[in-house]
Amino acid sequence: MRVKLEPRVASSQWMRYGGPVMALAATVIVGAILFAALGKNPANGIYAFFIAPVTTLPGVADLLVKATPLVICAIGLSIGFRGNVWNIGAEGQLIVGAVCGGAMALAFYPDDGWYVLSFMVLAGMAGGMAWAAIPAFLRSRFNVNEILTSLMLTYVAIELWKYMITGPLLDPGGSSFPQSREFPPGTLFGVIFESARTSVLFAVAVILAGWLFMTRALQGFKVDVVGQAIQAAHYAGFSQRRVVWLSFLVAGGAAGLAGLIEITGPIKQLPLKFTPGYGFVAIIVAFVGRLHPVGMTIAALLMALMFLGGDELQFELNLPPAIAGMFQGLLLFFVLASEVLIRFRIRVIRSARRTAPEASQAGAGE
């Protein structure tokens, strides 16, 4: 007797929406078990992690603020993933975008007219795009695996960041503590409520743009075909090289924008450490959201909730905020596992002898 995965003829609609929900439920259950196994009250822990952060208005604002860079990055990345272009260097592109945007703010210092922020946004996006152009170039010109190059460049970006804030961008009045000057108030996005700023509107715009691109634009269709059926794409004349460049530049621009938003929103300067791995979590968001703009939005909100939950656990129970990562990883595991049930059906095969009757049974079944 063995268990076999049999491809479905059509993907299960039920599982398509039910899958992620089941995955979330499973994550909560496993999380509760882990809490209990380590001697912490599971009910308290789960409540503090999933519910408490959004019970207050500032909490809801924080949720939007944290979800913004995640969803922007994820939508940018999803275009590439659909096209089978694996950019996993979003973290690096985000960081370079932040450095460029921040440098722009400091270049104009102390000037803070409205135009400074516009330049900063452009600089952020340009920085991210430039950093993403490197793996794109290496792939189209030298055939180098973009997974590895984009990943390596992330760690180069981190060192570049450190160099900038201890060197050229070091705050002259900050006693040599590794961070930049604070940005003047005019360079920040306006506040909507609590900690939520107008930068959240960028997220909305990006979500809309992403949805339009994938469902309406011809180029979006081309990306899909290149990603799923490369032979057909060649036949139709869709250029894979163009898809590679497009994917990286869009993802890089999005990541750079996300980085810029982070440092102008809650942070207001270039500190030693400003991202808890948004670029990597954005990849998880893209997958949990199944590469669909609406799905990714929901996934981004969930992941943001988990980040806040980690902070909550730190404040209430003195637990390390890295726990958020534990839940985020678990959620992705369960989502990936549930994916299987969307594309495949589980079949238990009793015995190898009875082949003919089994075939007719399989036909008559579901």
Binding site: P320, Q328, G329, L336
Partner: protein, 308 residues
Amino acid sequence: MNEDQIVQLLILMLKGASPLIFAALGELIVEKSGVLNLGVEGMMLMGAVAGFIGASEYGFVVGIFFAMAAGVLMSLLFGVLTLSLVSNQVATGLALTIFGIGLSAFVGIPFESTKLESTIGVIEIPLLADIPLLGPLLFKHDPLLYLSIVLLALVSWFLYRTRGGLILRAVGESHDAAHALGYSVIKIRYIAVAFGGAMAGLGGAYLSLVLTPGWEQDMTAQRGWIALALVVFATWRPMRVLVGAWLFGGLTILNLWAQSQGIGLPQQLLTALPFLATIVVLVLISRDAAMIRLNAPASLGKPFHPTS
């Protein structure tokens, strides 16, 4: 600076290279079988924390086993998802890393900032250890460091001189052809992935049991990613992993030494060098199809769909 000091610094370099050697060897086998497991950092951290817990509670040897077991369990999580459930390897590997960072931080809370009572001790090879200069450099190390060298030799011999290694490489080059020949691609990859997990766990244990020793959150400090880079930098050949590990480990010591001596070396550039060097190597070996075929496992990262 005299020769004795140079030897001391080289010894530090060797010790710093050991966790990289373990983790990179494991990932090398995994990638040779055609699988890309990006979860090395998470597996190393779980190995470090499990090893520390085991050693604190039950002694050093138990610690090593805990570390390897933790690594294997983590890697099997990856294995089930990517090999049996055919999920995307990149996403799963990243999830494994993020999960491992969080889980190890959680599990290790009661053990942070505690002291390890049982230490590993040092193996001194009689007579040879007394040779001036060369003696302490080559013959007076902890058992795990020697193990890393032995394992390196074993992996090299396995890959290129045994049938098993040939089959593994065949699976990595063309899983369809290997499948057609009757080899169980999935089973071979499971074994490779588990081996990678055990090695990553050992690498983590070296950090928490020998190098520091101790447990702190996130203590691998990107070494998992450096190990991934190292496998590529070494173009998937074990002996080059050794040299690369020395180079990468040596860079850190060079950085520290230059700092203390007042020599102005660009610190961040040196830290970024392993990653930059890896990109250069990638460009060199990918220049044309022939070079790629000679070096990288052709099926790397491609999911395997058995057609029967």
